[in-house]
Amino acid sequence: MKTEVVVIGGGATGAGVFRDLALRGIDTILLEKKEFTSGTSGRNHGLLHSGGRYAVKDPDSGRECIRENLILRKIAAPCIEDTGGFFLSTPQDPPDYPDSFLKACEKIGIPAEEVPVADVLQKEPALSTQIMRAIQVPDGAIDPFRLIRANVEEGLQLGAKAFPHREVVSIQTEGGIIRGLRAKDSRTGEEFQVQCRFIVNAAGVWAGKIARMAGARLEVVFSKGSLIVLNQRLVNTVINRCRPPSNGDIFVPHGPALILGTTSLKTEEIEDPSASEEEVDLLLSEGEMLIPSAGVTRAIRAYAGVRPLIGARETEGDTRTISRDFLLLDHGAAVGVKGLFSIVGGKLTTYRLMAERTVDTICQEMGKHASCTTSEKPLPFPREYAFHDLVSRLNRISGSGSSSDILCECELVTRKEILDQVGKLSFSTLKEVQERTRAGMGPCQGGFCSPRLAALLAETGKIPPATSLAVLKKFLEERWKGTRPVLWGPQLKEEQLIQALYAELFNLDHL
């Protein structure tokens, strides 16, 4: 294969760069070692930041967030829920913080407005009555899976190529200039060569490794953040704690669920991060300060993502003081690997800006005059797409066909919807079905529907022959990682049933 630019990494950054390159008419190929959105981009709050969180300590990030927040509302409206957000001050928080917060927001242009606590409690009755002050900001919920897929799909529509399951194994340079790379199909082991002039290293937590392959250096600090999914939308607004960023101080309502996070721990485990029981306890005890019923609400899953941060190691344990700003590094200027650009750090909210800056730099390098259009041009989304809302789903489903058509009872997903989503793909995975339809994301976490989904994929030839059991086992192992840290109360009961089903009845432990 031959192309102008290879983009490495199918997260938000890579997908954004891929789309931007394609829109500017530059020939490009996107390579992702696992599945799109399988790294940090798919393991976060799904929060469209207003920038408030960074306003005080990291105003550059805050400024970028609010600018991009407004742009994403225009170009990615179908995957954003405009929940609005509150920053709430509790008696445990520094009493002068709300004032510095308001001042900092004003300075960088974040529309933040103090509102009466009584009004907030009326709108969100689940909140603690201990709250002292409340500030309203334009936060929102954003679906990273749909966002990233829309970016990739637009690139594909424009004739660019994108490949999941292709891991870069080596990078070739000649006289300090990028010549190409070798990648491996992680499912078949088959290697192939791509010739190119430029490489965009958007590999996130693996960016340091990619840079080293080209003989360049890039220091990435890994910061693990864990989150819990609560099975009830206790609030309809994004809830932030009004204090310097710390653990368990953000709730984001997502579809029928509520996501509480995060933690921030230095880690070396980047391949397979998971939330620990200690982190779950910490998140819930902090979360209860804002929403007292959070601790007794059914938690259905905990997960973790690793933030790739750039910067000096200011502290040993907590990585929160490192800037959440991004870095675009031209390795040609830095260490003499011409044609290699690393784009690391940043936020999901600022992914588009990161892509714009990267592609601007590449255009300059190529001597090409093509301006960026991604801040104006809406992303392509399927016509019928709306945020997952159980009530309207139930209305739509009831009266049409029998309950046999509903493959996921928790999230009310029908067989037809799944076939509509994966029918045109040449192959698919359980994870992809989940992300596209929310099947398996409810209280039983796919415990009951995953065999049905595996059967559907096998029957329609979306997974290779004779692999359905392996696919299902892999799914269950991944599922167990998420349910294990939150096993108490009703979730524990359900888990014992699932355990009896798979380990005893289906005997999967022995087969």
Binding site: S402, P451, S468, L469, L497, A500, L505, F506, N507, L511
Partner: protein, 250 residues
């Protein structure tokens, strides 16, 4: 004494059993058999309707062992050495055997006869196309065990979402290729005839295809205790002769 009237809180029993799982039900039946007046108290149905309906003896020993135990009875002594506090070790071999005899008598008198003994394991197929070692199976299932060679047609029903004949056959054939089970499988899915607007689950399906006047289903109707199971398992009604008939007809 005329205390036992409806809506009256004071009742007299010799034995009260708390819990309606298999242990509770067997204990209640044993006490009743000795002439006691028995009351079973339970919160809801319990998980019994969610089980396979087979009685497992001892599937694997040690539990990590890849191969199933051929005879639970023979392995019991060794098992007791490792698990002295397990209920099996506490009650002993004789009592296990007599309890299983009692269970078999009871189910036979309830028109759901069971086949099998504690001294050998059956390998039965599961809805996922895996196998499960078990001791006692309903007699209707005994010809479906995986030690009997042959070609088996698995029938699926369009809309029966917890059983994919395709998936089960695919996985069972993998096990056959590895030499772990004897028969080979192929799959066929029957078109959905509508089932009178009822949801298609294993219970409604069993009701729909049962032979008229079957003692088993009639009894279930009378007692009104049968419930649909969310746990899928192969329809026990399809024994080998039915499969062969299916093979000829399709």
């Amino acid at each position: 004494m005329k205390l036992e009237t409806r809506n009256f809180y004071c009742m007299f029993y010799d034995v009260i059993v708390i819990g309606a799982g298999l242990a509770g039900l067997m204990a209640a039946e044993a006490a009743r058999g000795k002439g006691a007046r028995v009351l079973i108290l339970a919160r809801g149905m319990g998980s019994l309707p969610l089980t396979s309906g087979c009685i497992d003896g001892l599937g694997y020993f040690p539990s990590s062992s890849p191969a199933p135990v051929p005879s639970p009875l023979t392995t019991l002594g060794q098992f007791g050495d490792f698990q002295p506090r397990h209920p099996y070790s506490k009650v002993g071999k004789e009592r296990i055997l007599s309890a299983l005899d009692r269970f078999r008598d009871l189910t036979r008198s309830g028109a759901v006869p069971y086949a099998g003994r504690f001294d050998s394991n059956f390998l039965i197929p599961t809805a996922l196309g895996t196998y499960h070692p078990t001791c006692l199976v309903p007699e209707t299932m005994k010809n479906g065990v995986l030690s009997l060679p042959g070609r088996v047609l698995l029938l699926g029903f369009e809309g029966l979402k917890d059983f994919s004949a395709f998936l089960a056959a695919e996985n069972l054939n993998l096990l056959q290729a590895r030499g772990q089970i004897a028969p080979s499988f192929r799959a066929k899915t029957l078109a959905n005839p509508g089932w009178g607007g009822k949801a298609l689950n294993s219970l409604n399906l069993a009701e729909a295809i049962r032979p008229a006047g079957s003692a088993f289903t009639e009894r279930r109707r009378e007692t009104g205790t049968a419930r649909g199971s969310r746990i899928p398992f192969l329809s026990p009604g399809l024994d080998r002769s039915a499969r062969e008939a299916g093979d000829r007809n399709l």
